[in-house]
């Protein structure tokens, strides 16, 4: 049964649009899957390789702008931004990796955060190239229906999931975990830590960049405040993984479901809407204190606590 679980999931995902869901439901689904992709990408670098990045918006934004600028400057369909973003984001990741990967732990985290901000400010100021704060609008939408967008992002997500799983189960994955557990020990065992950290960063960045390019095509409008946002992209990425479960296959997916639904729920409440960052912040604090390995990672713990409560409930 467990063996077929992923295939059943995949079948369900492919059949879902046939149930005639409303446009809003499809939108939520697409967002959930897009965030799963970003979460999986972050998880590869942060969860498995132990390099916590606070600047995944840098990759998301560059991916989004690759598609946007391609469309805006040359008039080619923005969908070509997906393959092109792979190249551009990979190059970007190599540069950022060269600068940031010499730092460890929290310092790497902050350096990546700075990178995200640098790119945001650059995108805002390079008005001739990126249109600055005006943003880029994709005038012709490819499809009015959301079904095709859905299938494309599902394809990307399945690809990302399989890629991450294959990497983690290979030798590469063991190197990553070794680096996370003790970089010096890994180094002394002959693992070229810089090389493998760069590989992890590049793959993670490319996946995030593809999600960014998809975002441009799907939403049809980008500006630096949206795609390079610190809180709404970089921090939410971390939250998706933290809530779901660090270093687990399904963690980012669970986290994406929870975070997107939560965001929509909070936004729809009339008075509390403006406080969504407070609530997210409190959620983050609670998760770190009580479930440091996320819902999937600490599932046995949750089950134990819930089971204990239930037994108390029945005896009294």
């Amino acid at each position: 049964m467990r063996k077929y679980q992923p295939y059943i999931m995949l079948l369900l995902l492919l059949l879902l649009p046939l149930f005639g869901l409303s446009t809003y439901m499809m939108h939520i689904l697409i967002l959930v899957i897009m965030w799963s992709v970003i979460g999986m990408a972050w998880n590869l670098l942060g969860g498995y390789c132990g390099q916590v990045s606070f600047g995944h918006a840098a990759f998301f934004g560059v991916g989004a702008y690759t598609a946007g600028i391609l469309y805006f400057k040359t008039g080619i369909s923005a969908w070509w931004g997906l393959p092109l973003s792979v190249v551009i984001v990979a190059a970007e990741a190599l540069i950022i990796g060269f600068i940031c990967l010499r730092l460890r732990g929290p310092f790497f985290a902050l350096a990546t955060l700075a990178m995200g901000e640098v790119l945001r400010v650059t995108a805002e100021n390079l008005r001739g190239f990126t249109q600055g704060a005006l943003g880029i609008l994709i005038k012709e939408r490819t499809w009015v229906e959301k079904t095709w967008y859905y299938y494309i992002i599902v394809l990307i997500a399945v690809g990302a999931f399989v890629l991450v799983k294959k990497i983690i189960e290979s030798k590469l994955g063991y190197y990553f975990v070794a680096i996370r557990e003790d970089q010096d020990a890994a180094e002394s065992l002959g693992i070229n830590t810089t090389l493998y950290k760069t590989i992890a960063l590049t793959i993670s960045a490319v996946l995030t960049g593809i999600a960014g390019a998809f975002y441009t095509n799907y939403m049809g409008y980008i500006d630096p405040e949206i795609v390079f946002a610190l809180h709404d992209i970089s921090i939410i990425t971390i939250m998706v993984v933290m809530v779901g479960g660090v270093a687990t296959y399904w963690g980012p997916v669970v986290g994406a479901v929870i975070m997107v639904l939560l965001a929509e729920l909070i936004r729809s409440l009339p008075r509390i809407g403006t406080a969504h960052q407070t609530l997210f912040g409190i959620l983050l604090i609670l998760i770190i204190i009580f479930l440091p390995n996320g819902i999937v990672g600490d599932y046995p713990k949750i089950k134990r606590i819930l089971g204990f409560r239930r037994r108390v409930g029945t005896t009294s």
Partner: protein, 309 residues
């Protein structure tokens, strides 16, 4: 270079040094916390924002001068910082988890809550404190009639700078001359050895976080007469503090002072010669340059000089 260009350059340098003094104060708070706790406090700028709102409301409601509110806001921030350390960060230090960066992510959460609460309570309007001396300045020509160049020195900027210098000197005395200060430095140097020497590390952590918060709180009050105030300003200053600590060398107080001055002058130069919008990029350019060419920061140069003797 003619006289005007010299004037602009000197004026820019003066502005940079004044700004750098204040930056140094922010950086020292962060570097202290980093040295003792080995974590980066990503809510640092948000703590400053809280102190700024305190000073703002003290001025609006009770008409207390921002410079006086340093003495009110800094102690309050001290206790606020201690409370954060005690009730939020300490519990996380004890929790086992895969990622060691949990504490850093925790401070991000704290920062988010603080910034968002400020937006809800005070709206995201830009505010400033209308002190009478806000636009006063001293002019060089008032003192030296035939000076070839005309320079001005803003009164609030210079007072803020002097305050920052006094606080920094006081902190230096505290860290080098008192028992508590020495214990804090011992904890930063080697925690295990400090424990063996009978230092109450837990207490030192509390005091350090409080001290860091108080320092950045004081900096916030000093920024009030010369800067405007809005809830999202915290994130920006967190980054500034981080750039300063990297520039200065991690955990080094002297490094943070020099780093603050360098950053202040550099930002001032980019703002004058490249354009206001690019100042943040200049900040990060210097940060990246420091990472590549001087990974140990200014502190590593200082150390090399001392060892070379």
């Amino acid at each position: 270079m003619d006289a005007v260009q010299v004037e602009v350059l000197l004026q820019t340098l003066i502005a940079g040094i004044l700004l750098g003094g204040l930056y140094a104060l922010i950086g020292i708070g962060m570097t202290l916390i980093m040295g003792v706790m080995k974590i980066i406090n990503l809510a640092h700028g948000e703590l400053m924002m809280v102190a700024m709102y305190l000073a703002y409301w003290l001025f609006v409601l009770f008409n207390i001068d921002p410079y006086l509110s340093v003495f009110i806001a800094a102690p309050l921030m001290f206790f606020f910082g201690m409370a954060i350390q005690k009730y939020l960060i300490n519990p996380v230090l004890k929790v086992e988890s895969i990622l060691p960066e949990n504490q850093v992510i925790l401070t991000v959460g704290i920062g988010m809550v603080l910034a968002n609460l400020a937006t809800i309570l005070f709206t995201s309007d830009y505010r400033s404190v209308p002190v009478e001396y806000a636009s006063d300045a001293w002019y060089l020509s008032d003192f030296w009639r035939d000076s070839p160049v005309e320079l001005s020195l803003s009164v609030p900027w210079s007072i803020s700078f002097l305050f920052a210098v006094v606080i920094t000197v006081a902190l230096w005395f505290f860290l080098t001359r008192t028992d508590t200060g020495k214990s804090i430095r011992a904890t930063a140097q080697d925690m295990d050895a400090a424990v063996l020497m009978g230092v109450n590390v837990e207490r030192m952590r509390l005091i350090t976080f409080g001290l860091g918060a108080a320092l950045v709180g004081a900096a916030g009050c000093l920024f009030i007469p010369i800067y405007y105030l809005y809830p999202a300003l915290g994130g920006r200053f967190t980054l500034i503090a981080f750039v300063i600590t990297i520039l200065g060398g991690l955990g080094s107080t002297v490094g943070a002072i020099i780093g603050g001055l360098i950053l202040g002058i550099f930002e001032s130069l980019t703002a004058t010669y490249v354009g206001m919008g690019w100042a943040p990029v200049g900040r990060f350019a210097i940060f990246i340059a420091a990472l590549i060419f001087l990974p140990g920061g200014v502190a590593s140069i200082l150390r090399r000089q001392r060892l070379g003797k």
